[in-house]
Subunit: 377 residues, 4 copies
């Protein structure tokens, strides 16, 4: 099994997402770190890439240089990860897709729905992989819940309730803390604060697990910290194409929630609950039975859950290996195997839901269509 060749844009020294992707790509031996344009400062980026083992001629100063340098090569990159600032995702992803590369893009894939539709069309036209890093969907037990829904263990799903609410922006020190301030400033963050930043992870999970997509929604946004323009606390009620009732709460001022992503899915025959802070267990309540604790690694889990796990029962696995699981799936796909990873369509749907939420919230919660125009019938 030869290693696949992997390159990265962004994720320079000191970034948090960079190491996560490098570990993710390399942990299981699937990808070899072959090329990179890691920093806004070309010299720093080149030096850093080389320090990480990238050959000098494939350590680039910026993404355009990298695109030019890699495009013609015979030993072309198998996958390019885009982990740059949000507002550059669209241009870079588009450019690499058009040049024939497979891309894994950090979320959000784009800043607008229109851009999202464009990426989806390009990806479809080229047949290249365009994945988006909704890495929570790659936790083994999230896969298990999806398999349980798909296999009918929960019966028809009635309601899904998901939260991504933490308290890490509760200090209210926006004035002196630029790392927080920009998130609530439309000029820097776009149309939405927390819904675009975290809410879309929860929304993606809801769709991923239920296998159903959001059709309409109603949102209530609040900016609870003085001076914030964009929302730091939002509630979104939704209905899926299949009629599932959805509830999503996302917040950044929820002191006492350290990570704060969780999801509950309730069906006719049973309910499941999972929380990212204890990711190796699912609480399963079968109608008429007791609550059972499903453990990662136990006998009889779905193939998809097993594929996402490296060690035996009760040995916990965590976030970095969930990111790695995205790469596991991409490697499988690139090698022609079966895989299940978030795609450009997921990236597009998220953006449509964010815009729909903003729209609904501005209109006092009126129900709006949450689908991208291209998927509205």
């Amino acid at each position: 099994m030869t290693k696949l060749k992997w390159g990265m844009i962004g994720g320079g020294e000191g970034s948090q997402i960079g190491p996560a992707h490098r570990l993710g790509a390399q942990a299981d031996g699937h990808f070899s770190f072959t090329a990179g344009a890691l920093d806004v400062d070309p010299a720093k980026g080149k030096a850093y890439a080389q320090s990480l083992g990238v050959a000098q001629d494939r350590a680039y100063g910026d993404w355009k240089e990298m695109l030019a340098g890699e495009k013609g090569r015979e030993d072309k990159l198998d996958l390019v990860t885009v982990a740059t600032p949000n507002n550059t995702h669209f241009e870079i992803t588009k450019s690499f897709l058009e040049a024939g590369f497979n891309v894994l893009c950090e979320k959000p894939m784009t800043m607008t729905v229109e851009e999202g539709e464009e990426i989806v069309k390009i990806a479809e036209a080229t047949g290249q992989v365009c994945a988006v890093n909704y890495c929570y969907s790659a936790y083994p037990m999230v896969r298990q819940m999806r398999a349980m829904v798909e296999g009918g263990e929960l019966g028809a799903i009635r309601t899904v309730v998901t939260n991504f609410s933490h308290g890490h922006h509760a200090a209210g020190d926006d004035a002196t803390n630029p790392r927080v301030r920009w998130r609530y400033d439309p000029a820097q963050a776009g149309v939405s604060g927390q819904m675009a930043d975290c809410g879309i992870h929860a929304l993606h999970l809801a769709s991923f697990i239920t296998g159903d997509e959001v059709r309409t929604l109603s949102a209530d946004f609040a900016s609870t910290v003085e001076g914030r323009v964009l929302e730091d606390d939002a509630m979104v009620n939704f209905r899926t194409e299949g009629g599932i009732v959805g509830r999503l709460w996302t917040s950044t001022i929820a002191l006492g929630r350290q990570h704060g992503l969780d999801i509950q899915v309730f069906g006719e025959k049973g309910g499941v609950r999972w929380a990212s802070e204890q990711p190796n267990q699912v609480y399963f309540h079968k109608q008429g039975g007791r609550i059972e604790i499903i453990e990662k690694g136990e006998d009889g889990l779905s193939d998809d859950a097993n594929r996402m796990s490296r060690v035996g029962i009760a040995h916990p696995e965590g976030f970095p290996l969930a990111v790695a699981n995205i790469y596991v799936d991409l490697a499988a796909r690139l090698r022609g195997g079966s895989a299940n990873y978030p795609t450009a369509v997921d990236g597009l749907r998220s953006m449509a839901a964010v815009y729909a939420s903003v729209d609904s919230a501005k209109q006092q919660g009126v129900w709006v269509d949450a689908r991208p125009p291209m998927f509205q019938k």
Copy 2:
């Protein structure tokens, strides 16, 4: 300390609420069970009351007989508990109040807002006690959270998130299960299902702890089980008079939640979380600090919390003694001491919020005034 004289209407043999009230009234030695009209079947009610120690001449066949019998006595009852079917609460409570009795009414206090306003006016006019059994507000640690908010430990409150969602009606066996069916039938249950049954407990807690009242709300109701007319899953977003953002989810199909009442309150300086299934702890996250576990019975709790607790730290106390705490407070009030118990005004506000939720849900979540007309300025 002489015992107070207590009478009860409803709560006959086999009911669950009857024993809870009898234990509640008698556990701490405050009340003596003196009179009762316990059953729709007069003979059974009389016999049962006497078997519980009520004198023959104060064991009544129905509430009208009891009212007539007790009204003129010198050794009049100090408190009458009304624990009859919901649609009789108004008439009985009103009649006893007008006859000069103090009343503890089970929730919901009335079936309509108009009735609620009438009770409030009578209670105010007579000066009699009219309490409503929102017993979750009498857990020691709920009192502690209220004291923390009042004392400024959390700073100005930004958001309160509360749920009362369980899975005990998930079977979908309404057709053959009359104990479930009536709850979703407007002819029997009134305008609302789960919001009126459980949602109002959560809403009361939110108001009780924050010391702030709901002003406006937007609701999304769903009937997820086929054949149900009234809602079995509801989301209510609200704003309080003081501008707090509120989120309330209530459901009866949430398999995996055994009791399902919990509340989180987020302020500028800290957040707290409490769940009825583990009622003796509060998780407290002070801004900038770690999550701390506040234990019932630890040193330094509020007087109100201590008053509601009987045994030392880490000896758990539970639901029946929360009911008893309502009686502790009523006894204190009747003896002229300081007390803090849910009143007719709380009963009225609940009913107004239920009607507002129904109204909003019918209009696709439009925001409506949630206050009783008499409190709208």
Copy 3:
């Protein structure tokens, strides 16, 4: 159903155990508080008893006066609770038993094994009830575990592991804190500190749930706080008559454990785990299956568990009602029904185990017989 007549010795104003017994006796309406000698100060005791509703002529100055006054009455007490200082339990219990009263004695029943054997013999000879307040055995879910063992759901039991370790004496302020100091002083506390105070509760639970008695043990005692003569941290390994392996750890310096009583029972077919801090759930792992959460109040629990519970599933019940359950059982017994409560034999066995532990610990953990002489074959 007439109320049973109940009297109490000790438990005066300000004590913690007094209110627990009064609530326990009266909460469910089984007993009427009829006589008492509540305080070492006769005048205070009489006044306090009357303030609690005891008639003047049955409010006594001390236990001897009470014994004299109650002995000849036609309307004799049905049950006398002894809640005085430990070193008086034997004399009072003996005297009342011999006078024909039924007794519920606080633990430890006696200070020596010889005294314990004497009580057992008297109780057997008279046929009177002599119960000991091992109240943890009266939690509904403890009864459920016992029923599961008895019914074979766990198969033959292999190992039982129990702890009663808290941190409430970790401050090490013995010099200035007399409420802690006496516990580690042989002159005041007897031969053992924490083993006699809390360890015996855990040991009783182990026997109660497995239905098997301790035969031999090996102990390791430590006095971790300077100046303490008696142990504040002890480990006892034991074997039961039936060959079950036992492990018991008890400590008072275990900071982080607020109550600290828990038990795990492991059998051929399954294991269960219960903790007093979350007393309404049992975690049950059936061999080959998943961990299940058994909830107090769920369908299908044992009769004994149901009898110990007052409210429905997921409404928590706690310590004061576990004490009340001892009275529930005593009332049933006094009325001729079936009951299951800790007896003088349990009290005796505890004392024998304490002395055996002390003996073993002094001999560097040598294994010793843990049975009272009268039960050694």
Copy 4:
């Protein structure tokens, strides 16, 4: 930063420990997988190594061939991992150490104390790294607890209580399950079953966190499943050099414990608790304060804890990255930086404690010296 060259012996296709080491070595980019003798079947081992990217000339048929092949090379391996069956660890580790290689050996390092002393002497004489994979000591929050003890946050330590008890051998199917049977057969497993397999991890943790070593111990062994010669349930009481009281329970029949490693450390000023099933939190109870939850990634953790963590607060990390942390430390050491990893001395001490436990258990729990002869004064 050039990658270090890493080789592995054992861990062939289908093994669980192999992938854990490969991920551990490569995840953070420190080591390059350069040579290997992965399988007892030479051909399979060579093929598998090459499939994982090892060059043909460094894919060996067995460890002797590998030793011969690698010994003379200029581009010598920086580290060799030994992950072969237990009874070969000594010979291979010794041979590679003597040939000048740095070694990471799986536990147990040897089968006897004498072998352990020999390895320690060789390692000391050569100055080479000889590490043992006590990987639980490399969890970030274990490092944090060690730092807290070292920094005096808990005061002088009084008692340490640790368990490594699971239920994965509770089925009792030894007769038909060779993967279980060998563990309780002295001919295959040596002198000890579960104490040698898991107990030593717990014991190492106790020493690692307290910074103190076991001096004496008393053990109680049980073989609870019919037919087992070696212990499947053991309790070890111990005292450290510094006088800390230790309690260690280890079992394989503890149904309901999925992984089952936990540790509590109690000092004069505070207590901490950590469990491997929820490895990113430490519960900390400061004397006089509340229980606090310390989160991996929070501000103010020790440098050592931070060095062992890759992602921010509340993003869980798990077992595979704890193994990786051993490699992080080894890489740091090999590059001349500061590091803290389990050494041959730890491996030796474990073996001495196992033999001491066996010895004590055979003598009914007599206290014995638990130190290797070379460390007895």
